[in-house]
């Protein structure tokens, strides 16, 4: 279980996160949803340990992690641009961290990860030869073999197009279920957040607007922001799609 208590952060006197309190249960998929500049990436980096917090605590399984260095927290991240190492092949990227932690993953387990992400045919390719979706999966594999206690994903879908997006979405869900992995995903797309996750944390200007399941958010929006910006978008989308299919069937 991951608890954030009174987490606050300022950059040059500008408040970016203001007193954030949430609890995330083990194995849950949680989306951080909010407009650009609302502090999503900052919150993710604070959990990761890359950014220091000003106030508050991060508690993981009853241990105070607030001042534990990034490396020792045991969390891991897939960056938005993947940060794959271009001079190594896909396979060499995947096993990069295993060189430092021998015996963390058996050869059989490694093959399982590779199979699960359907990367077998691409292992010998250079990073430059991979498509966006393939890069995404290599980055996921590289992170997963480190057996992180929490998986963090910064806008994992924003660089992908339609069909691949849906398949990666499913894959993220099945990873979380299969490995019982707590997963926190940053996104600014309400549809993505609501269809992908168990719980959604809506942030606006550094504050929590609402934290709840997709049903709760749809049925009991807690304020104007959730209603105006999150639900409105979805309704317009729904309307557009109805129009499209309506015309076709008319």
């Amino acid at each position: 279980m991951l608890k954030l208590q009174n987490v606050s952060k300022q950059f040059d006197r500008k408040v970016v996160l203001d007193d954030i309190n949430i609890e995330i249960k083990a194995g849950e998929i949680v989306s951080l949803l909010g407009p650009s500049g609302s502090g999503k990436t900052t919150l993710l980096n604070i959990i990761l340990g890359l950014t220091q917090l000003d106030h508050g605590k991060i508690i993981f399984n009853d241990m105070d992690m607030s001042h534990v260095p990034m490396k020792n927290r045991g969390f891991n991240i897939v960056f938005q641009d993947y940060a794959l190492f271009p001079h190594l092949s896909a396979y060499e990227n995947i096993v990069y961290g295993l060189k430092n932690k021998k015996g963390l993953v058996s050869e059989k387990e490694l093959q399982e990860y590779i199979e699960f992400l359907e990367l077998k045919p691409h292992l010998t390719k250079k990073i430059g030869e991979l498509s966006g979706g393939q890069k995404q999966r290599v980055a996921l594999a590289r992170t997963l073999v480190m057996k992180p206690k929490i998986l963090l994903l910064d806008e994992p879908l924003s660089a992908l197009d339609g069909v691949i997006k849906e398949s990666i979405k499913q894959r993220i869900q099945s990873i979380a279920r299969e490995f019982k992995l707590t997963t926190i995903i940053v996104t600014h797309d309400p549809e993505e957040a609501l269809t992908l996750s168990d719980k959604i944390l809506i942030i606006n200007q550094g504050n929590i607007s609402q934290f709840g399941t997709p049903q709760e958010i749809i049925n009991q929006p807690q304020n104007d922001f959730v209603e105006e910006f999150i639900l409105k978008q979805l309704q317009i989308k729904r309307q557009n799609i109805y129009n499209l299919f309506g015309e076709k069937h008319a």
């Binding site: 990034m70 490396k71 961290g97 590289r142």
Partner: protein, 538 residues
């Protein structure tokens, strides 16, 4: 970016210490010494220099000839760059221009002077071919030719690089809008390049103003600042305090020039993105530029032709039969082979240590959140400003009593500092383009910071590292001005040895040694180019 680590602080501090001891203290000493007199401190050194007619004349000469060089060089370099980038002349000609232009950079400037003498002198190669003396080469004319040959390559590389960033689509747009040739040329080529053209001018000026090799060989009685400084320091009655004053006065135009360069940088256009587009057909333009640029290149290179011919003839220009005896003599003279070995040693050490040093500096600046890291940028501007002669002289003043005097160490350090700017900027440029999350990723995958540098950052910038090594090596092979005050009989280098041989009029030896430098540099250059290509295609 990764968080600050102890290793970063340690490396950063070491770099600062090196620059303090080998850049700031020496320059400070130079400054203090320029005010030191027998009666304590005062400005009497400056007064006596400024009332010395010869010196004032030398300053006037330097400014005059450097300005003329800068004008001619900028025009020539622009013509060549234009021909390469904006015409459809026959491709091999472009290749020849781009390759031929770098040849002078592989030779010490002092060699240029002797090549000019042997080409245009009374018995020179070109004089023979044309059947008469074209003009008096000792003094102004010789210097001008030498400076132009010396500065055109650097100016060309600068302009050629900027041409790449000009969006050539605008040429087409301008044509479609009905612009005439001149207006189109001014708006789409000259205006976007204005900053770089100014930069090429300033660069050529500074290079000629501070060069020692060319005036040392063909200067004759036309005195310039560099030769005066040498006279005062190493002449019959050395005067270190007066030398310090001249060095400070030599530094001033350089400081002014670098400030101007930074200002001109702002004039440059920055197109968001630039597209490659077919150039408009224009036969007349292409033929003209093809001819002009070929003439420029051939003229420049023909001056060096003599260097490849004379040492293989019995007694140029009287006895033109082939012989290898001069070459053999060199290889049998242990003095000269030792000098060559010294040069190789210094160039190799400079290349390896200098690259390491510049690369570390660039990593700290481009890829860490260290506070005060931009101080390295200021240092790199300083090393860009200080002329080699001034740096060498300030080392002489500061380390004269120390055990560093007369060692290879001090020569290598002088080279590393002197040529720091370019390799540092190469590295910084390439490192700052890389994904900023690599260090964090490496750390999450269990690497220490240094290990990620070694496993990821270094392999990804291998091509730049090779380029840095090549730059440091070639420049320490050819520099004369930087080391002329630091070499001793035991640490003599090829470039400074050539200066000695001049006293004894041993021109065959001079050319053979120059050829040795040339071949060594050419080998390193080709090797590095090859390795770089291999890296890029990998």
């Amino acid at each position: 970016m990764p968080n600050v680590k102890t290793e970063m602080r340690v490396i950063y501090l070491s770099i600062l210490v090196v620059f303090a001891v080998f850049l700031l203290f020496p320059l400070g000493t130079l400054f203090v010494r320029s005010f030191e007199t027998n009666q304590g401190f005062g400005i009497s050194n400056y007064l006596s220099i400024l009332s010395n007619k010869d010196l004032i004349e030398a300053f006037g000469n330097s400014i005059k000839i450097s300005t003329m060089t800068a004008v001619i060089t900028t025009i020539l370099a622009f013509t060549l760059a234009y021909a390469v980038n904006c015409t459809r002349i026959y491709r091999p000609i472009k290749t020849v221009i781009k390759t031929g232009i770098v040849i002078p950079m592989l030779l010490p400037t002092i060699t240029y002077g002797f090549a000019i003498m042997y080409s245009f002198g009374n018995q020179g190669l070109l004089t023979k071919i044309f059947g008469r003396n074209l003009f008096e080469i000792y003094g102004f004319n010789g210097l001008l030719i030498g400076y132009v040959i010396y500065t055109v390559p650097a100016a060309f590389l600068l302009l050629n690089n900027s041409f790449k960033y000009i969006d050539k689509k605008f040429i087409v747009v301008s044509k479609l809008m009905g612009d005439g040739s001149l207006r189109s040329f001014m708006n789409t080529i000259v205006r976007p390049l204005l900053g770089t053209l100014g930069g090429a001018f300033v660069l050529s000026f500074i290079l000629s103003f501070t060069d020692f090799g060319i005036p040392a060989s063909v200067g004759g009685t036309y005195y310039v600042v560099a030769t005066q400084l040498y006279q005062v320091m190493l002449g019959s009655i050395p005067d270190f305090n007066h030398g310090a004053v001249i060095a400070i006065l030599m530094l001033l135009p350089a400081v002014f020039g670098v400030l101007l360069l930074n200002y001109l940088e702002k004039l440059n256009f920055h197109y968001d993105k630039f597209s490659n587009i077919e150039l408009i057909q224009h036969k007349f333009r292409d033929i003209c530029l093809g001819v002009i640029s070929s003439v420029i290149i051939v003229a420049m290179l023909s001056i060096f032709a003599v260097m490849f011919i004379a040492p293989f003839l019995n007694s140029f220009p009287y006895d033109l039969t082939f012989t290898l005896k001069h070459v053999m003599n060199i290889f049998q003279s242990s003095d000269l082979t030792d000098v060559y070995k010294n040069s190789l040693l210094v160039a190799t050490l400079t290349a390896v240590l200098g690259t390491l040093f510049a690369y570390c500096s660039a990593i700290l600046n481009a890829r860490t959140p260290l506070r005060w890291k931009s101080s390295i940028d200021i240092i790199s501007m300083m090393t860009n400003t200080v002329p080699g002669m001034v740096l060498g002289l300030s080392y002489l003043l500061l380390f004269n009593g120390s055990s560093l005097k007369g060692t290879f160490t001090i020569i290598v350090l002088c080279n590393i500092v002197h040529f720091f700017t370019t390799p540092y900027l190469m590295a910084k440029n390439s490192l700052s383009k890389m994904n900023p999350s690599w260090e964090t990723t490496g750390e999450l995958l269990g690497d220490s910071w240094i290990r990620t540098i070694y496993r990821v950052i270094l392999p990804s910038s291998a091509s730049t590292v090779i380029e840095m090594i090549s730059y440091y090596f070639i420049n320490s092979m050819v520099t004369v001005s930087g080391i002329i005050f630091l070499v001793t009989a035991q640490t003599s280098l090829v470039a400074s040895e050539i200066k000695e041989l001049q006293h004894f009029a041993k021109f065959n030896e001079i050319f053979v040694l120059s050829l040795l430098i040339f071949i060594t540099n050419l080998f390193i250059k080709l090797l590095c180019d090859y390795l770089q290509k291999k890296q890029l295609t990998k």
